[in-house]
């Protein structure tokens, strides 16, 4: 099956500045996105600090830039030299500047027509897209009076107005207030669940974490890791895995763990004990046995290292195995 995005040995440099270096990456299946009601889209998060090369990679994928070396294929075609695959693409750039003098409806319908939606359908499509982004009450207002959150929503509406198979969102939550952030995340999830494939970039980890567990970590222009967040975490075996057990007798847990050779550190917190282990599976087995045997009352069992932030820290600090 043909991937939606196929980046092969792709490098981009601006003069002496390296944007991307030898990136190889495939995403999605073109066949799947052509599905009907039963199809489900998926979301992948492009993660990386500012200047890592996320936007550079996105621009090459959407055809705004051509790689200095290597190839980029969008729906099997070169997006830079061939406008056809861009018809199936919705792109929300990082910046929120637009034609501010236009109303939201005018802008989105204009961009719909640019994407090939016939003029007599563009207005209706724009209204639908703005409604999906929670902007139906503001469609007649000029964009210059919009807040940052409203601009982001308008930008997202313009990206989905022609109902693309693939959405590429470059930092879509930048500058958005927390309530709007939750709402936009929910709407992006709905789009993905409705069958649209989504590539979203961010340097804010919890934004990605709220959207997806599939990530690509870009660091200094290269793909540092990709795949499911938990799978990636399991691959990081150099770093001890922390498990926090909150229970009525944390010292009993600590005593049981102390004899295990995979435990590297035990720390106490208020009503909790934090274990560091080189073998999480063995540690969970041990914990299960101890809890049952000692009849412990466990109120929480969490893994502080199993979140995106910890994985990202490990990867970018050179701790990856």
């Amino acid at each position: 099956m043909k991937p939606i995005i196929e980046v092969t040995d792709c490098s981009k440099w601006y003069g002496q500045v390296l944007g991307c270096a030898s990136i190889n990456w495939k995403f999605g299946s073109d066949e799947r996105t052509r599905g009907t009601a039963a199809s489900t889209g998926n979301i992948v998060g492009l993660l990386g600090p500012n200047g890592a090369g996320k936007s550079t990679l996105m621009k090459m994928i959407v055809g705004l830039s051509t790689p200095s070396r290597g190839t980029v294929r969008l729906f099997g075609e070169d997006p830079f030299h061939n406008p056809a695959p861009r018809q199936r693409l919705g792109y929300a750039p990082e910046h929120e500047k637009t034609y501010d003098e236009l109303t939201a409806l005018e802008l989105v319908s204009f961009l719909a027509r640019l994407s090939g939606v016939p003029t007599n359908q563009a207005i209706a499509a724009a209204k639908t897209a703005l409604d999906r982004m929670g902007m139906s009450e503001h469609i007649g207002r000029p964009i210059k009076g919009f807040s940052k959150g409203m601009r982001q929503r308008t930008k997202l509406a313009s990206a989905i107005v022609h109902q693309p198979d693939l959405l590429i969102l470059d930092e879509p939550l930048t500058g958005v207030d927390p309530m709007a952030r939750i709402d936009i995340i929910d709407r992006i999830k709905r789009l993905a669940a409705d069958g649209t494939s989504v590539v979203i970039s961010s340097h804010v980890l919890y934004e990605i974490e709220a959207l997806t567990t599939d990530i690509v970590v870009i660091y200094r222009g290269q793909v540092l890791a990709e795949g499911n967040i938990y799978d990636i975490r399991r691959l990081i075996d150099k770093h001890p895995h922390r498990i926090r057990v909150e229970c009525d007798r944390p010292r009993v847990v600590a005593a049981a763990a102390a004899s295990a050779d995979h435990i590297t550190r035990i720390a106490f917190e208020r009503d909790a004990v934090v274990l560091e282990t080189r073998n999480p599976d063995a540690c969970y087995d041990l914990l299960g046995q101890t809890i049952v045997r000692e009849q412990l009352h466990v109120t929480a069992l969490t893994s502080p290292d199993n979140n995106l932030s910890a994985v990202f820290d490990y990867l970018t600090s050179g701790g990856a195995a």
Binding site: Y91, H95, E101, L114, T212, L301
Partner: protein
């Protein structure tokens, strides 16, 4: 054996694929017809016109100026059709005063065209470059040729309203003031001449500012370049042409336009020796149109090659 993920990471969401059934809102792929890619320039042209129409100072102000010029010139033409006035005014003139109103008015329409170039034309591409507007076009199925053609066509239509509608109105008025049928028939070519002069002006005042707008990444810089070239360089060329009695004045855009118009209407304007021969005027206008479009094409194509998108 792994512990259940829900117990380990209560804050982490489950993989999105497993929640697909929750959000079935009936979102479907767009399966309707799509407009051919070759027609995208028309979308851009319409957008150029609609954005120019927004606010009072972009298109409406120069258009209002052109309207005022038309009305004043039309009133003067009406008054000057009086025989006594003609007898007085025709001294030193190569034609009837009322016949001269149409070509002379082009000098003023050129000023209205210049105003429009300042309010819209000379900042089109620079504004898009400054705001990251290229991204909106080229992340969609739009080619550089569609962009340049669309912008130019939009500007040309707007400039035609300013520089062509007025002369045509005056030419029509002149026909209406004809006293006899034979005079009316004799005057019919005035309509064509006014259309040609207006179209030449519209082409020049659409293409050349568009080219200048491609020379800078900032709107104000592009405007300054265009205003400087038009007012200073143009005046220098016109002045040198006047002093040396050479066709160098054709490089001054308003001189080229008025020269072409005067030649079309067979006006001998003795007080304006900077008027250049018709071939030079036509050559200069064509050259400026080609330069303007060439600069726009070069800039957009070059930006595409080096990468566009993203506000500075």
């Amino acid at each position: 054996m792994s512990a259940p993920e829900t117990n380990i990471t209560p804050t982490a969401p489950a993989p999105t694929r497993s929640t697909a059934a929750i959000y079935d809102l009936g979102y479907k792929r767009y399966v309707g017809n799509r407009v051919a890619a070759s027609a995208r320039w028309r979308v851009i042209m319409r957008n150029q016109l609609s954005t120019a129409w927004k606010g009072w100072w972009r298109l409406k102000f120069p258009l209002g100026t052109a309207l005022m010029i038309s009305l004043v010139a039309g009133a003067v033409m009406y008054v000057s059709s009086n025989k006594l006035f003609n007898a007085i005014a025709s001294k030193g003139m190569g034609l009837k005063f009322s016949d001269g109103i149409v070509p002379f008015s082009m000098t003023f329409f050129a000023r209205a065209g210049f105003i429009f170039s300042l309010t819209v034309g000379a900042s089109v591409i620079a504004s898009d470059a400054q705001s990251g507007g290229f991204t909106f076009y080229f992340a969609r199925p739009v080619r550089p040729i569609d962009y340049v053609l669309g912008k130019f066509a939009g500007l040309l239509l707007a400039t035609s309203l300013i520089m062509m509608a007025g002369p045509l109105f005056l030419a029509a008025e002149r026909l209406g003031l004809a006293e006899t049928t034979s005079e009316l028939i004799d005057l019919l070519p005035v309509l064509g001449k006014a259309a040609i002069a207006g179209l030449a002006g519209a082409l020049l005042y659409a293409a050349l500012p568009l080219g200048f707008s491609a020379l800078a990444n900032k709107r104000r810089t592009a405007l300054a370049l265009w205003a400087g070239a038009y007012l200073i360089a143009g005046s220098i060329c016109s002045g040198i042409g006047l002093l040396t009695n050479t066709p160098l004045g054709a490089l001054d855009p308003p001189t080229a336009i008025t020269s072409l118009t005067f030649h079309l209407f067979d006006v001998e304007w003795k007080g304006r020796s900077a008027m250049v021969p018709m071939p030079y005027a036509i050559g200069a206008i064509l050259m400026y149109v080609v330069i303007g479009l060439g600069l726009a094409w070069w800039r957009v194509n070059n930006s595409r090659s080096t990468g566009v998108g993203g506000a500075p």
